[in-house]
Amino acid sequence: MEETKWEPKVVGFLCHWCSYAGADLSGSARLEYPHNIRIIRIPCSGRVDPMFILRALQNGVDGVIVSGCHPGDCHYQSGNFHARRKFAVIRRLLDYVGIEPERVQFSWVAASEGPKMAQVINEFVEGVRKVGPNRLFKDERRDGE
């Protein structure tokens, strides 16, 4: 059987007003970022529940990135501050459980920062590629569910 080379499959939760628009902009500017990322649009980075990250890893996704507006610029005033706090807490849990830091990342990207969004995704995917496929946390029972 032909062994297809493993490609990381990562999920990005991008906030609608800044990061998602930034990714859109990089697209219209024809800047390339890896196809490995699947973007899920959310209204605000504050919408992200830590469960999303865990469920994603459970489902075999190799990495998760959450991206929001720059501090002070949140479209909803304070959502990204709450996201940052939640992220700080869940980071400790993930470390404890043994999930490599390269797998779960957090970034601030503004709507005008097309090149930065492409760069962030690029670097993230490379980071995940380095730590290899997510075998430890994939819930095998979920296969085919």
Binding site: I40, I42, P43, G46, V48, F52
Partner: protein, 457 residues
Amino acid sequence: MVESSQNENIEILTYSEVEEVGGYIGNFDVKIRKKARFVDIDKCTGCGTCYQKCPVKVPSEFDMEMGMRKAIYVPFPQAVPNVPVIDKEHCRMFTKGKCSICQKLCQADAVDYEQKDEIIEDRFGAIVVATGYDLFDASVYGEYGGGRFKDVITGLQLERLISPAGPTGGHIKRPSDGKEPKNVVFIQCVGSRDIEKGVPYCSNVCCMYTAKQAVLLKEHLPEVQTNIFYMDIRSAGKNYEQFVQRTMEQYGALYIRGRVSKIYQRGDKLIVKGADTLVGIQVEVEADMVVLATGITPRHDSKNLAGILSIPYDQFGFFTELHPKLAPIETVTSGIFLTGACQAPKDIPDTVASASGAAAKVASLFSSDEMSMEPLVSTIDTAVCSMCKACVEVCPYGAIQEEEITLRDGTKKKQLIVLESVCHGCGACVSTCRSSCIMLRGMTDEQIFDELMAVAQ
């Protein structure tokens, strides 16, 4: 102002304070205290006999303490309504229990020392905040005399001297001896652009009002020489730059780029020591009068008002707009709008523009009985909600409120609801809720998990 007072759709409540605001857009419950002025508005004819005959004189706040008013007074001749108010702190009737000259002389029987404050509680659809500014207190600049020199005055004080209705009848006279000044120095940026004094911002209006005052001084006193010490001239408005050039060319104003380091009194003159940085020398001017272009600060009680309205303010006390570029008139609280200098220092054309904007927004809000909104708002499953209120703390808009409902058996129950007209749909509440009883329509946890599943295949 008179036009507004005669419009049947406008009710002007003067000498009143907003004490409490509850509710939300379209339904603000406001408590107003109409303070007792001790004169019956309906009876008073505005004849003015009372304040003509009142024996007590008090420094006039409107004349920036350069003139006097009486204990019963109208702040300025064009005041609306043209009904006087009694200053309790200085009126002899209130402080000593004797006098009552105004009551005896009033032919309309309008003076009423027993008048009480009146509380008005009503529901309003929108609130426009236009509370204006306070002037920076220049006495903190000890090097400019700290308020001790009589002939060192502020720009607003000069306005009163120039005004024909002012304390000197429009004649420019030195406060110390009443003589006409021959050499006047203006100092820009007193209480603006000064981090050390806690005011790093530019007050916007001073460069232009100083130029205007230099022009008016020259028109009143053709022999006067004006000297203006500046850092930069900010004349960005329409025709403003041409106005400043005319001030220099036609009205002979001498603009000196540099700060003033010290003012001291020598005899009846003021010696102003500064620098001319464009030439690179120290400058000493012997002036008859010095005018400090004092800066704009938020009103001293602005933080208090912000608390009552539940709107945010910045580190100085200016009220915070929803977005500095894209929404300078709205606040995070839907239905509360800002206009004028309470939001940021601004001049008359900009204030009129922002006021028109606020009026337009209110008009469009009121143009129909129902508001249409984005449906992607949060909603609470009250059966599961334990009222821990963690969601209330993270909501930036105050959209989650308590309400009391009556059950079918007549008992009352408190519960939390999301005000759909206030919710902006950010979802911070959803990720905070411990019991997953609040959900964001269109972006529920289940919907996101489904997306995740699809992506992970």
